[in-house]
């Protein structure tokens, strides 16, 4: 049963490769729900990846690395929040500069980390489940993978069942009305951007500490941009994000696996697949979106109270 084994290992690898995407996508969903677009996801993720790798290398504790990755993401998101929420600056401009900043800083500060070996996150067996036939596919992952899965219902609950979730929707859809109702628009947005940055940072740290297990310049290789597309694909709903993230995780590993099988297709063509597929998925989403889904109405628009009064 080579096929079944291949499939099992593909599922396992998809989950592992998809976890960084899942974290970043979920984080960005929260931020965009509040009306703030963070185009700097790529820069945020790469900062998390490098910081996480560095901290794990120095302390020998990959969990401190993951935490540090989250904090690094949070700090970059703090810049974004300050510029876009506090100063009401154009969200696209700040986001794009965040990409440059993240890639630049990590390229600069991470130069000595290239080629180093840090302590990586190890998989855990969940009870006896991993000993089931092909149980390894789903039940033999590192804890971050499972935290990612748990995050999905958690964020769903946060967004749909709590007061903060309600406020999040309100400021993302109609900040004027939210303001009138006494919801602190800026505070809700600021927090949402920080949550987004923290999660994207953790995603980055998982990338360097559990999936790629290495630090190279620009390690994220466009994953931040893919996540921005995944947010649209998921219709701003956490429960859909997990499918998109694992799908693209699978695509990522598939290109390597097909390479190993020796299909005779050039490595470089394989590497193009995720990017082309992202555009296709995005196209599919925007065509479909006209019927069912919608972005938060105030997405990308700064809210300035003086404009109203």
């Amino acid at each position: 049963m080579i096929e079944a084994e291949f499939l099992a290992s593909l599922i396992a690898a998809s989950m592992r490769a998809g976890t960084p995407l899942l974290f970043a996508t979920l984080g960005e969903i929260v931020a965009e729900r509040s009306g703030v677009l963070n185009l700097g996801l790529e820069g945020v993720m790469v900062s998390g990846a490098m910081t996480g790798f560095y901290v794990s290398l120095v302390t020998g504790n990959p969990w401190l690395g993951v935490l540090a990755g989250g904090i690094a993401g949070l700090l970059l998101a703090l810049i974004h929040a300050f510029f876009t929420v506090t100063l009401k600056v154009d969200q696209a401009v700040t986001g794009l500069m965040l990409v440059l900043l993240g890639l630049g800083l990590t390229g600069f500060l991470g130069r000595d980390l290239v080629g180093q070996v840090a302590t990586y996150i190890q998989p855990v067996n969940i009870l006896f489940l991993s000993s089931l036939p092909y149980g390894n596919a789903i039940f033999n992952h590192d804890p971050v993978v499972y935290v990612g899965i748990l995050l999905v219902p958690l964020l769903w609950f946060l967004m749909n069942k709590t007061r903060y979730g309600m406020e999040l929707f309100a400021v993302g859809e109609n900040p004027e009305a939210a303001d009138t109702m006494g919801i602190p628009v800026d505070r809700v947005r600021f927090l949402a951007v920080l949550i987004g940055g923290f999660l994207a940072g953790i995603g980055g740290a998982h990338l360097s500490l559990a999936y790629a297990k290495v630090w190279t310049d620009g390690l994220t290789a466009g994953r931040g941009w893919i996540c921005l597309a995944l947010v649209i694909f998921s219709g701003w709903m956490p429960q859909r994000a997990i499918f998109g993230a694992y799908l693209f995780g699978g695509l990522d590993v598939l290109s390597f696996k097909l390479q190993a099988v020796g299909l005779g297709v050039s490595y470089h063509f394989m590497r193009m697949i995720p990017y082309i597929f992202t555009i296709l998925v995005l196209l599919f989403s925007v065509i479909r979106e006209r019927e069912k889904f919608g972005a938060p109405s105030a997405l990308g628009k700064p809210y300035i109270r003086e404009q109203k009064f």
Partner: protein
């Protein structure tokens, strides 16, 4: 304490000069701290940067050689930006231009038509590459920021595929290079340096684009679409045509940049055609506020940065990534500073505290 933000009715002119200058100084300071952190004296590093660019004939001409492609990518971002579009794909368009021009250079004859055809194919390839996101935006309103960016990766892998595969040269010792171009496929150089005729053309293109966007009705239509889409619709301007045409012009210019880099500088196709000039076009366009004349000035600043960056790398081993950091900081400081041109801020905790309408 309450912070009050009010829209300025009038902005003092001096602010428009102070902010960019202060932003550059602040960025230099910030980068200086980073340099200190890795044990490099920032004053020495900046000294090396300036003496390389202005101290030698080679460095000075190199300044123009590096400025030229940045002017072009700055324009490639600026033109769509005037219509409200983000072309983050200048890098990919540049690579496609480089590929098409190299294809002509390596396989076409007779010699006399090669250089003109390289220009033509470079323009067309950049245009074709930019037409994809342009079309998707106009037809489906597909986010052009994401699509242009993603296509960069595809274009770069395409060129990599070529130089590792079918276009790899015979005498390149496993380097990802094509063979060297023949003399007739190379842009003329001057002063015994790398200063090639493409540099002059780049400046001329900037001036031509300036005339196009400020003196023609097309330029006016672009501006209306970018600044007031409703008015554009009212005036009967087709937004879709403007979206696609600005992307095509931007792509063509970036494609020419690719042609220029392989024909004027590398003299062959290689995996690394550009160190990220396409991305540098973004801060350049922002700093220049979409004005082609200012694009030349801003591009010069970043050209200096690239020349200085490589000087700092060879002298102190400082990663060139510091250039990206500087670019991002300058723009962040400027847009942060912009806030103060549009709003005045006062601090205080007494009176006039806005409570909002409790409903």
């Amino acid at each position: 304490m309450q912070i009050r933000i009010e829209k300025r009715l009038e902005t003092p002119k001096i602010v428009y000069i102070i902010i960019p200058v202060a932003s550059i100084l602040a960025s230099l300071l910030f980068v200086g701290v980073l340099l200190l952190a890795i044990g490099v004296n920032p004053l020495e590093a900046y000294g090396v940067m300036l003496s390389r660019a202005f101290g030698t004939k080679f460095g000075f001409t190199e300044l123009f050689v590096k400025t030229a492609p940045i002017i072009l990518t700055g324009l490639a971002v600026s033109i769509p930006l005037r219509a409200g579009l983000w072309n983050i794909g200048a890098e990919g368009q540049l690579y496609m231009g480089a590929f098409a021009a190299s294809f002509v250079a390596l396989y076409f004859s007779p010699p006399v038509i090669v250089l003109p055809l390289m220009v033509l194919f470079g323009l067309l390839a950049g245009m074709a590459w930019a037409s994809i996101p342009g079309f998707l935006k106009a037809k489906f309103d597909l986010n052009e920021i994401i699509s242009t960016l993603l296509l960069n990766y595809v274009a770069i892998y395409w060129v990599e595929y070529l130089v590792y595969g079918p276009m790899r040269g015979k005498e390149v010792y496993n380097f990802p290079y094509s063979d060297l171009f023949n003399d007739y496929a190379i842009l003329p150089r001057f002063f015994g340096t790398r200063f090639h005729v493409g540099v002059i053309i780049s400046f001329l293109i900037a001036i031509a684009i300036y005339i196009l966007i400020t003196k023609t009705s097309y330029g006016f239509a672009v501006k209306i679409v970018g600044s007031n889409p409703k008015a554009a619709e009212f005036a009967g301007i087709s937004r879709k045509k403007i979206i696609i045409s600005t992307m095509l012009i931007g792509g063509a210019i970036a494609g020419f940049a690719g042609m220029m880099e392989v024909s004027g500088l590398h003299l062959r196709l290689r995996a690394a055609v550009s160190p990220g000039y396409g991305y540098t076009g973004i801060p350049v366009a922002l700093l220049a506020r979409g004005n082609p004349l200012f694009v030349m000035v801003a591009a010069f600043l970043f050209g200096l940065l690239y020349v200085g960056g490589s000087a700092m790398q060879t002298t102190f081993g400082i990663p060139v990534a510091i250039v990206d950091v500087f670019q991002a900081l300058v723009v962040l400081f400027i847009i942060g500073g912009d806030f103060f041109t549009r709003y005045s801020i006062s601090f205080g905790d007494k009176g006039e505290k806005y409570e909002g309408e409790k409903g």
